[in-house]
C-alpha cells in the first residue's frame, strides 16, 4: 500500500520544527507502524538524509518508550495499544498520516518525534515507592492481601509510563499517571505507612513539572495503552484531600 506521511522534523530542542511530507510505496499491511518508520528511515539514509529520530525499544507494548501522536491521537487510532502495537492494516491505501511528538510543557522535544519525559521519573522520585531497604522484608505471606485488592493494585501498577495520558489530555495533565502510582501503593497494606506523604509530595511534584489540571474528560483513560481507569484519579483526589486535611505537616 501507499502512505503519505507528514512527520514533525525538529533538529533539536532549541530549533524550530515543521511538518515534512514523505511518500512511501510498498508498505505491507502486516508491518507495524514503527517498521513503516524503519522503511522511511532506510530510504532517507540511502539518500543521505537524516533519519527521523523516535523513541522505541521493546516493540511489544510494555517498555513505554514509543510515543507518537498519530492522526490526532496518542498512539494512533487503535485503543488499548502502543504505537509499536499499531499495524499498517489500521490504515487504508493512500492514506495521509500525520505524525507529531507528544506536546506538553513538561515534555520538551529533544529531536523530531522524541521528547524528554524525565518529569515522570521526578514525580516517582518524589514519593512513588515504599521505603523498605533490601533485606528488611518479612515473609511474603505474612500479610494476606485479598485477591480483589491485589487485582486493583495490579490494574493501576500496569501503567507503562509512556505519557499518552498527558499527550491526549487537552490540559496536558499527568493525573492518570500520578493516580496510577498513588493508587497502586495506596490500596496495598505495604503502602499504607507513607500513603499521606506520598500523595502530597507526588501532587506537588506533578504541579512543579508544569502539567495541567484534570478536567475529567476521560481522554487519558481512552488513549491509555493499558486502559487504566479513571477510578484511580478519584482515589488520588481522595488520598490527597485526606492527606492535606489530616496530616500533621503544616
Amino acid at each position: 500500500m501507499k502512505i503519505n506521511l507528514k512527520v514533525w522534523r525538529q533538529k533539536n530542542g532549541n530549533a524550530a520544527g515543521k511538518l515534512v511530507d514523505y511518500k512511501l510505496d510498498n508498505i505491507s499491511p502486516d508491518m507495524s507502524f514503527l517498521e513503516m518508520f524503519d522503511v522511511l528511515n532506510d530510504e532517507l539514509m540511502h539518500k543521505g538524509d537524516e533519519p527521523v529520530a523516535f523513541d522505541h525499544d521493546c516493540r511489544e507494548g510494555i517498555c513505554g518508550m514509543c510515543s507518537m501522536y498519530i492522526n490526532g491521537r496518542a498512539h494512533g487510532p487503535q485503543t488499548g495499544a502502543t504505537t509499536c502495537q499499531l499495524h499498517m492494516r489500521s490504515f487504508a491505501d493512500g492514506d495521509t498520516v500525520i505524525v507529531e511528538p507528544w506536546r506538553a510543557r513538561a515534555f520538551p522535544v529533544i529531536k523530531d518525534l522524541m521528547v524528554d519525559r524525565s518529569a515522570f521519573d521526578r514525580v516517582v522520585q518524589s514519593g512513588g515507592f515504599v521505603s523498605v531497604n533490601t533485606g528488611s522484608a518479612r515473609d511474603a505471606n505474612e500479610t494476606p492481601i485479598p485477591r480483589t485488592i491485589a487485582d486493583e493494585a495490579m490494574d493501576a501498577a500496569q501503567c507503562i509510563g509512556c505519557g499518552a495520558c498527558v499527550a491526549a489530555c487537552k490540559n496536558a495533565s499527568a493525573m492518570l499517571f500520578v493516580a496510577a502510582k498513588v493508587s497502586h501503593l495506596a490500596v496495598l497494606p505495604q503502602g499504607q505507612a507513607e500513603s499521606s506523604i506520598r500523595a502530597e509530595r507526588m501532587v506537588a511534584q506533578m504541579d512543579a513539572e508544569g502539567f495541567g489540571a484534570c478536567s475529567f474528560t476521560g481522554a487519558c483513560s481512552v488513549e491509555c495503552p493499558k486502559s487504566i481507569s479513571l477510578d484511580h484519579i478519584a482515589r488520588l483526589n481522595r488520598e490527597y484531600l485526606g492527606a492535606k486535611i489530616t496530616s500533621e505537616a503544616v
Binding site: K170, A219, L230
Partner: protein, 232 residues
Amino acid sequence: MSWVTQTLASSLGRKVIMSLTGLFLCTFLIVHVAGNLQLFKADGGRAFNEYSFFMTHNPVIMTVSYLLYTSIVVHAIMALLLTRHNQASRPVKYAYARPEANSPWSSRNMGILGTVLLIFIVIHMRTFWYTMHFGPIPMAEYDGKEYKDLYKIVLEAFSNWWYVLFYVIAMAALSYHLVHGFKSGFQTLGLRHKKYTPLIEFLGVWVFSILIPALFAAMPVYFFLKHVGVIG
C-alpha cells in the same frame, strides 16, 4: 505558605474549589427551579410574588444568597485561572488533533459553556434581581399587603422573542455544563464508588442536565406562547 493556601493553590485544590462551588450552585438550582414553578400557577402571579417576597426578606435565605453570589464569582475566577494554567501546559499545540475520538464535547468546552452561563447570569440578574431590588417595579396587593409585582416583569421580559431564544440557548448551555460538571464535582472530591457513582451519573444526566434546564427553559417558552396566543 500555610497548608490551607498551599492546598488551595495546588492543581487539585483549585479543582476542589471548582467542585464545591459548582455543587453548591447545583443545589441552588433545585431551590430556584422549584420556587419558580409557581409561575405556572394560574393565580395571576400571587404565589410567585409572595415567594419572591419571602426569598428577599428571610435572613437565612439572604445570607445564603450572598454565599451564592460569592460562589459564582469564585467559580468563574477559578475557572479562568485553571484555564490559563492548562493552556500554558501545552505551549505548542498539535497541528492536527482529534479529541472527539476520546472525550465528549461538553467535557472539553466547559469554559465556553461557563462563559455563556456567566453572560446569561449577568443579563438575568439585570432583568429580575436588579429590578426587584432597585426598581422601578409595579406593585401588587394581596390581602391588604403590598408586594413587588415581579410576575409582571417576568411576563414583560418573556414576551420578547429574542430574549426567550437567549434563555433557551443558555439553558442548553446549562444542560451541557451540568452533564459533565455534576459528576465531575464528585470525581474531584474523590467520591467514586462502584455502588454510588451510577446513581450520581443518573442524577447528573436526568435531573441536572435534562429535567432542571428543561423546566427553566419551559418558563420563557410558556409565557411567550401565551403572549402570542398559541396557548390560553
